[in-house]
């Protein structure tokens, strides 16, 4: 967290940086936030990489724990130099065998790609789920199989809204999410988990393919929430990501982040939700604005008017009443209801009370 860096631009009011949440060492870790949702520790930039034909020297730093054994590295480098190239067709044979073992993300460019990749990531987690994992309680009192039924239920409302095939019993697009979830949980009861997995994944694939053929300006209202189609796909991305992190944490697996190019549109979506979450929570600030700076992979800066009639836009240096600087992934998870706003690590300047109110309101749209 950038505790020391001053936010960019000029700020009305006292030039005072304060940090929300309890001071002290507890701040660094957010209780309740799954470890798997945190960004992985980046490799030490001072060390040179190993594993490339390029740089053999890097891994072995004397005295640094976990660094390479020099003989192992040398041995592997010698083998890499010695062996011959792959025979013709080896890559194509590999890809065919890999596709049969786990389907790749549905190949869609643009608006559906971040969601397609999170579906593939959840599927990768399910690939290493044993029998005990399927009946393990993950979140909301749901087992892994029931959690998957919940994802299939919420996905199904989007499928119904865009005319893609729906998994499980038929549903109206504007059905209630909780009722649809209950129906899907009943539907999968007694099913082999692999069937639940296959049906969920097939429906998600159909959504991606169908969405890619539609005008991005299409307004749909699954579950009664009217937004343009791309935002619904980002909402599905975020929920799939968060529940995958929930499940990975319960299963003791480390989950890597999405690529930065998939975090960015999701963070943008979350930034655009702030005026809504604030209004829903009764934050009275329609004439005010904040600058949101998200750090780390997928980050950026936004100008966020807390007025539902005005658009959230990339930061253009306009005057604001407060600034909030925090980690992009942590921010997405906060909007998704993971992590406590009171202890959320963020640096604020300007009207600290306003910034705190906005952060406290942030999870207002998160459901189960």
């Amino acid at each position: 967290m950038p505790h020391h860096s001053a936010p960019l631009g000029d700020t009305p009011g006292p030039d005072r940086a304060s940090t929300l949440g309890a001071p002290g060492p507890d701040r660094a870790s957010t209780p309740g936030e799954p470890a798997a949702g945190r960004p992985p520790v980046s490799s030490d930039p001072g060390r040179v990489s190993t594993g490339e034909a390029g740089e053999p020297g890097g891994g072995a730093v004397p005295g640094v724990p976990g660094t390479a054994d020099p003989v192992t590295r040398l041995r592997l480098d010698v083998l890499a130099e010695a062996a011959s190239e792959a025979p013709p067709g080896a890559r194509e044979r590999l890809l065919a065998a890999a596709r049969a073992a786990r389907p790749p993300a549905v190949a869609v460019a643009g608006i559906a790609a971040p969601y397609a990749a999170r579906v593939a990531a959840m599927d990768a987690l399910l690939a290493c789920a044993g029998e005990a994992d399927w009946s393990r309680t993950i979140v909301e009192g749901w087992t892994l199989q029931q959690l998957l039924a919940h994802l299939a239920a919420t996905d199904g409302l989007v499928a119904a809204a865009i005319g893609a095939p729906v998994a499980g019993p038929a549903t109206a697009a504007d059905a209630d999410v909780a009722e649809r979830t209950a129906a899907m949980i009943a539907h999968v009861a007694g099913q082999p988990p692999e069937l639940t997995r296959a049906d969920w994944r097939a429906q998600a694939g159909a959504i991606c393919r169908r969405a890619a053929s539609l005008d991005p300006a299409t307004l749909i209202a699954p579950g009664g929430m009217a937004f343009p189609l791309p935002d619904h796909l980002l909402a599905r991305m975020l929920e799939t990501w968060i529940h995958t992190a929930d499940a990975a944490a319960a299963m003791g697996r480390s989950l890597p982040l999405p690529v930065a190019g998939h975090i960015t549109p999701t963070a943008d979506f979350c930034a655009r939700l702030l005026p809504w979450t604030s209004a829903l929570s009764g934050v009275e600030a329609a004439d005010r604005a904040i600058r949101l700076t998200l750090t780390g992979p997928g980050g950026g800066a936004w100008h966020v008017p807390l007025d539902l009639g005005r658009a959230v836009v990339p930061d253009d240096g306009s005057p604001v009443d407060a600034t909030i600087t925090c980690d992009a992934v942590g921010f997405c998870f906060l909007l998704g209801g993971r992590g406590a706003p009171a202890t959320f690590p963020a640096e604020v300047t300007g009207d600290a009370g306003l910034a705190r109110d906005v952060l406290h309101a942030a999870p207002a749209l998160s459901g189960p």
Binding site: A60, V61, D77, A83, P87, C128
Partner: protein, 185 residues
């Protein structure tokens, strides 16, 4: 085990977890020779080794969360799996042979990757091969591996351009491959 995964390892892992096939292609293109070399060293059979390489890459694709870049490099992880599969193959073959014609009196058992690399005699064999390298290559290899220098540090210590150090190391690795008889098993 090798040190933690590199930034490239992490990005490739993120992409593979996200179902990006082109990332698997990159892993294949980059690490095929190493994984094949390892499998051939144990099995002494090119076509068996090629099958093992494919199995290892498919395993990585199917269950990418079994690999954790915080715990080691991708190539070290793939090498470990390849070594284990190759050893399993040799043992199965040996059991069939024993069933058919009876046991040999002394059977060299293949060992796990770490045991093999770190075994005193293997380490000594590598050390000996390094000591037999021409002086320029030996200096560069010793700095880069036994003293843990980066290319840049080694270049400074040797008073040479970095590119020269790199090519000496590359030549040295090839020489070692010949010396350790692994060009073509």
């Amino acid at each position: 085990m090798e040190g933690p995964g590199t930034a490239d390892d992490r990005l490739l892992h993120q992409r593979v977890v996200g179902g990006d096939e082109s990332a698997l292609s990159e892993v294949h293109d980059r690490l095929y020779p190493l994984v094949l070399g390892l499998a051939m060293r144990v099995t002494r059979d090119r076509s068996v080794a090629e099958d093992i390489v494919q199995e290892v890459f498919v395993t990585f694709w199917e269950r990418p969360l079994a690999f954790d870049p915080d715990r080691g490099s991708l190539r070290g992880w793939l090498a470990t799996i390849a070594h284990r599969r190759a050893v399993d193959h040799v043992r199965t073959e040996e059991r069939h042979r024993v069933a058919a014609i009876g046991p040999r009196l002394t059977e060299p058992e293949p060992s796990p990757l770490e045991d093999w690399v770190l075994a005193a005699d293997e380490a000594a064999r590598v050390r000996l091969a390094v000591s037999r390298l021409p002086g320029e290559m030996r200096e560069a290899i010793e700095l880069a591996y036994y003293r843990g220098r980066t290319y840049r540090q080694a270049a400074v210590e040797l008073g040479l351009p970095e590119g020269t150090v790199k090519s000496r190391i590359r030549l040295g690795l090839r020489r070692l491959a010949d010396e350790l008889a692994e060009k073509e098993v």
